[in-house]
């Protein structure tokens, strides 16, 4: 076993790539939950994003188009969830599960002819000599545009929720939809917008998996990433900054696990590949059992149906 083969700079750089899909999906889901909607279909939206992104990226050979198409497709799927839960007032938990099942089935069907093909590569941004800096080079200046986009989105979501009127309205709808309705805000419309936003980010995350991270399409390739994103929202107690920390911590663990496998650590492969799920459970327990504000930070109207009675 040779642990010195693991280069910390490359580890951090790989961590950022590995965390990006979960970061995007978790960030979107956080906005949705801040609006008071619990969408358990993140896994389904991610895999639809993955397959759409791959198909469009492969056929046009322009990965960027793949990302755009993925965001649209997943937002469309999310709106189906929105229609059911917000207009037809169905149970959010059951509908979210249904969304995941539909997404997994539909993606397997659509992606069948594309199995085993290779995605076009997404070029990295050229920072010139900056990327040759020791340590900082590979960590800060050696990524593809989506990594930077995800970081920018964290900043934007944080700013909008915390410091703008739009964010205030979103939070009002999530905390007390009756009061928000009484103030004249269109609760259902605002929630639908949030759901579509969450869907498009989940789609981007999924497309990142199939276009950059792997980069190919395999059936069921998200392998629980959507569910981990949901767990990270709880871990982050519904704050953008902590979503970033949670996703990067998780990405770090995944990369470390892969590096340990590559370095020939003599633990069974299965132990290592079940580790991310066990760690997620452990983190959830720590967060919810803690004396801190963790579990109390949930939006007060989370998962409750809003029906306007006139």
């Amino acid at each position: 076993m040779d642990l010195s083969a693991i280069d910390p700079a490359l580890l951090v750089a790989a961590l950022m790539v590995s965390a990006t899909p979960i970061l995007l999906a978790a960030l979107g889901e956080m906005v949705v939950e801040r609006a008071g909607v619990l969408n358990l279909g993140v896994e389904g939206m991610m895999i639809i994003g993955a397959v759409t992104g791959f198909i469009v990226g492969f056929n046009t050979e322009v990965p960027a188009l793949g990302f755009v198409a993925a965001a649209f497709a997943s937002a469309l799927l999310a709106l189906a969830f929105g229609l059911l839960t917000q207009v037809l007032l169905s149970n959010q938990v059951a509908t979210g599960l249904g969304l995941t099942l539909v997404g997994l089935g539909l993606s397997a069907l659509l992606g069948k002819p594309y199995e085993g093909m290779k995605a076009p590569t997404l070029s990295q941004i050229d920072f010139g000599p900056l990327s040759d800096l020791p340590f900082l080079g590979p960590v800060l200046f050696g990524h593809d545009p989506v990594v930077y986009l995800s970081l920018l989105l964290v900043l934007v979501v944080w700013y909008v929720i915390k410091h703008t009127r739009v964010g205030l309205i979103l939070r009002a709808v999530g905390e007390n939809h009756d009061a928000a309705h009484a103030l004249g805000y269109k609760v259902v419309r605002i929630r639908l917008a949030a759901i579509a936003f969450g869907g498009s980010l989940a789609g981007l995350g999924g497309a990142y998996l199939s276009l950059v991270r792997l980069p190919q399409w395999t059936e069921g390739m998200t392998a629980g990433a959507g569910w981990i994103a949901l767990a990270i929202v709880v871990f982050a107690s519904w704050r953008a900054g902590r979503v970033l920390i949670g996703a990067y911590l998780f990405g770090g663990l995944t990369v470390l696990q892969l590096n340990l496998q590559a370095a020939g650590v003599t633990i069974g492969v299965q132990y290592l590949s079940m580790a991310p799920y066990l760690i997620t459970i452990l983190v959830l327990v720590l967060i919810t059992s803690g004396k801190g504000r963790g579990s109390h930070a949930a939006p007060a109207s989370l998962g409750r149906a809003f029906q306007q009675s006139r």
Binding site: L101, L109, M274, L284
Partner: protein, 362 residues
């Protein structure tokens, strides 16, 4: 202007009609999907829903398969439905199913090659216990730390799948299997096998148990105080607490029962139709059972019928794969759409649709 008005009580007639309507809508949407895939939609629907039961020569093979597939689905869905009634969302039945199969098979294989008549009952006991113990993890975490049972039970599915891969290439591997992964075949070992009870029906001990469980659950939910408490905890948690219903005990009971039933389903599957523990033993029954539970309106008799229907889509799906080259994923999508349409139809059960604007009355 269209408006929804909440009914005081859910309309029971509509509640019974919506699954039928959802099935029809799914057939319609599925037909369009098959047409897009380049198949004749009418032929595809006929192959899935009619041929497995009535068209020879397939029917003599696939009719028994109906009970073989419906048994585990019903067993798991009944357990899940009790939890769903109480507002406890166990979606990790797949993991409990796997762990039940592993524990039960391991308990039996420990005594190989004994022919004692006690071996099968012992395996049943450990199958149930395995599923129960796996479900106790989210249950205890929920009551002790308030951790979300949805996420924990689902994460444990991935853990169980890894354990399955580990034991089928490790401790449970058949020592005489020439190094191939997978355990000894329990079907070839009389003391541990779960045979077809009546020739040509597909009826095995698991199917028999599922029928018993349907009746027992019906009695419990409608006639027994425990069933009343479960329903109360789901529909009016605050009132339940005032009435002295202990929420901790409800969580432990619902998750434990669902886990034990899923574990039993796994055990009967591994000792009967599947025959051995292999890497690909997990078949998605635990997830399809969620659809079955909803399609059956969380009612035991409804679940019995829904389980049979869902089993039919499995068998018909395999047939359509064989005869028409419809991809396997199309059936998965078909099942997902069914749940989606059902949930959409639910609005008519709980709400009345009104046209026109409201008149304000004093």
């Amino acid at each position: 202007m269209v408006r929804l008005e909440k009914r005081l009580n859910p309309n029971r007639t509509v509640a019974m009609l919506t699954p039928l309507l959802a099935v029809l809508l799914t057939m319609l949407a599925g037909g369009i999907m098959f047409a897009l895939l380049g198949n004749d939609p009418f032929e595809a629907i006929r192959v899935i829903f009619w041929d497995p039961l009535f068209a020879e020569p397939f029917a003599s093979y696939s009719r028994p398969q109906l009970l073989v597939k419906a048994g585990p689905l019903i067993l798991i869905a009944i357990g899940l439905s009790i939890g769903f009634r109480a507002g406890i969302w166990n979606i990790g039945a797949e993991g409990q199913y796997i762990m039940g199969a592993i524990c039960g098979a391991a308990a039996g294989l420990a005594f190989y090659p004994s022919e004692s008549p006690l071996i099968f009952p012992l395996m049943v006991l450990f199958g149930g216990l395995g599923g129960w113990a796996w479900a106790m993890i989210p249950a205890v975490l929920k009551v002790r730390f308030g951790t979300n049972e949805i996420l924990v039970s689902l994460m444990l599915v991935y853990v169980a799948e890894n354990i399955l891969a580990m034991v089928s290439t490790g401790v449970l591997r058949n020592p005489e299997g020439m190094g191939f992964p997978g355990s000894r075949n329990l079907g070839h070992w009389d003391a541990a096998s779960n045979p077809e009870l009546i020739e040509g029906t597909g009826m095995h001990w698991g199917v028999a148990l599922s029928l018993v469980v349907v009746i027992a659950t019906y009695v419990m939910m409608t006639r027994h105080i425990r069933g009343f408490h479960v329903r109360l905890a789901g529909e009016a948690p605050r009132a339940a607490r005032f009435a002295g219903v202990n929420p901790t005990r409800i969580v432990i009971f619902c998750l434990g029962l669902a886990g034990a039933l899923a574990g039993l389903a796994g055990l009967f599957e591994v000792s009967g139709p599947a025959g051995q523990i292999t890497i690909d033993f997990a078949s998605g029954y635990g997830f399809t059972a969620i659809i079955v539970a909803f399609l059956g309106r969380l009612h035991p008799v409804g679940i019995l019928l829904a389980g049979l229907l869902m089993a039919l889509t499995y068998i018909g799906g395999e047939l359509a794969q064989l005869l028409l080259g419809v991809p396997a994923a199309a059936i998965q999508l078909f099942q997902g759409m069914l749940l989606f349409f059902l949930l959409a139809m639910d609005v008519f059960t709980n709400y009345r649709v009104r046209f026109g604007t409201t008149k304000v009355t004093a």
